[in-house]
Symmetry: C2
Subunit: 375 residues, 2 copies
């Protein structure tokens, strides 16, 4: 007899992103990575270190430091979720999403509906938890915009959670305010079972339009996941949070308390400083806005078809032959010196596309586009 | 129809420790908390802050910084687990234990056997994951020592993991080297299915005997969980790790990658500094060894029956009437100004006892003992 394993863990295949990244050489143009190249604002790290010298680094309560939670709740001020009790500090947005899916869906009966193209974690977490999941594809013809009717039509009799990443990784599209209102109205009018909405807002501070929509403003069963990873170049700080209504928050904190106990007190102090200084959350946004203009210009000049960039730091470009994106990504990394992520890993609807990150130096991005155009 | 929830989360009852802690007043003598009162070694925090100023705080690979993992593996040098690839950096030992139980047991068929008295998290995590669990009680008559025959006899046909916390929270007892050897031999000789052993070594640096035993030295299917929380007063740093053989480590890292992605890069840098300075992991042990002598003296003078303290920073004392420990803890916090944890939450075998932490000032500990003796 062999040693035992959880078959659900074994069934999850290895990450294709990592398989491609592993083929990278020192000379490669890396348009694959999903994190900022800016440095974090050191003054907040130094302030936390000084605070720790006096206070040590003890546990906070499971949900996180109440003073930090109060600042976060007040900053976003979502209706019905304006109090410290509505916030749970997590290990990045990864644990936020994990805890939400694990806590709010019954694996025996409930289905998760994922709006795709999407970050692969939602489906992987559902698989790990034994939760059924389906996806609703946004359409290339529509630039992968958030088609509200299509999303509402896709809800099924056992759908109990809808997950939307907006601003989107990988497409950079954003749910608009009017779309958020219509989606909320449609969800409220529906006769089926009530549905949680999980909106992953991790790219919220990186937007290049004025009318980004947030479901939590309009739909009372919304759970928000976010973090400091992208806004403040703090991917390695692993500081995220859930914002949730009064009813589910206690159950969410309970799951968090048995998975990781509490978030890092040092990281929480860094976040407390950031949320205490007006503008600190948006300080790095300027760099992205300026870069975005140059990136759209380079995309326009490349001759490649691309998705308009509303937010985040990705560009999706169509392969010249619209073919197998995994094969193209392997060709690029193995023989053309470019790391790019195949669209297929974000959903079937993005097959034939590549996801490029544009935080690397602009001339590298432009050179990468040329090599893709020459495929 | 109501909003959906995972019924396994709902079934977990609220923490009794927190219910008691909530009744604490500013004047209470707090013998309840489970964390050091020493400050962490600030030089490591400052070194990490300086490092971040140059390097930023980017993601490490999922398993954690290879250089840190190499130092940890080399430090413990468990047979067959001496390489960086055998280590996964986690969010404290909480996530280490969570990931091990989730990854290595099939909820459909496998049983977890918990050696009690024990920290409640093992049973709670099993409950959250839908994994069957039983416990094997160590005996008060034996001072809750690790009775190897009793543990081996308790293994059943579907037991696929045995979890042992040693040094023990709550009892402070330690599995001795000779016991570890006998337990390993018994597990290897057994005809039933092979069993994982998860040894939680979080109090490893706080030992007051010379022959502490570690299963990983003798039994090849051992998984080790540990952290810097207790050794270096870094509970709030949330830096722990799993050490595991080559076969399961890939599956453990996979689960970790979907639950929390990666551990905090700042915390990993603090750990890298600590593991790079000989003696830094043991620096605070001296304080505990000196305090331990005074604590045993106070216990001897109290007239209360107590468990000999081999390690950790807890003392278990018998209630004068040997009665209901929850009722006694409530009486103590509500009317006698003492926070103590009822033994019953650590397993039925510790009913009639209280767990006291002895990191508070010694005179408070002694006064607390007097009030308990007067119950």
């Amino acid at each position: 007899m062999d040693l035992s394993y959880n078959p659900r863990v074994g069934a999850i295949e290895a990450s294709l992103i990592r398989a491609i990244a592993a083929k990278k050489t020192p000379d490669s143009i890396d348009l694959g990575l999903g994190e900022p190249t800016l440095l974090p604002q050191q003054r907040f790290i130094d302030a936390a270190a000084s605070w720790a010298a006096v206070n040590g680094l003890r546990y906070t309560v499971n949900a996180g430091d109440p003073a930090l939670r109060e600042r976060i709740a007040a900053h976003y001020a979502y209706p019905g979720m304006e109090s410290a009790r509505n916030v749970c500090i997590t290990i990045g947005s990864q644990e936020a999403v994990y805890v939400a899916i694990k806590t709010l869906l019954d694996p025996a009966t409930d289905e998760l509906l994922i709006v795709t193209p999407s970050f692969p974690a939602y489906a992987k977490i559902a698989q790990l938890e034994g939760v059924a999941h389906r996806h609703v594809d946004l359409a290339a013809d529509d630039g992968f915009g958030y088609d509200v009717d299509r999303i509402l039509d896709a809800l099924g009799p056992s759908t109990r959670m809808l997950v939307i990443g907006s601003p989107s990784n990988p497409t950079g599209r954003i749910l608009r305010d009017a779309q958020a209102r219509r989606l909320a109205a449609g969800l409220l009018d529906r006769t089926g079972p009530p549905v949680w909405v999980l909106q992953d807002e991790i790219y919220r501070e990186l937007t290049y339009i004025d009318d980004a929509g947030y479901l939590a403003n309009y739909y009372p069963n919304t759970i928000v996941a976010n973090s400091l990873s992208k806004s403040n170049a703090l991917t390695g700080m692993r500081l995220g949070w859930l914002i949730a209504p009064d009813e589910p928050i206690g159950q969410l904190v309970k799951t968090h308390s048995w998975v990781t106990a509490t978030a890092n007190t040092f990281a929480q102090r860094v976040a407390f400083e950031i949320f205490g200084e007006p503008g600190a959350l948006q300080e790095q946004s300027r760099w992205y806005r300026e870069r975005h203009v140059l990136v759209e210009r380079a995309l326009g000049a490349s001759g490649l078809r691309y998705v308009p960039i509303d937010g985040a730091f990705y560009a999706c470009v169509r392969l010249p032959d619209g073919g197998d994106s995994l094969a193209a990504a392997l060709e690029l990394v193995e023989r053309r010196g470019v790391v790019a992520i195949p669209g297929s890993i974000f959903g079937d609807t993005l097959e034939g596309w590549l996801r490029l990150t544009w935080v690397a130096p602009l001339e590298q991005f432009t050179e990468g586009l040329s090599r893709i155009a020459a495929l």
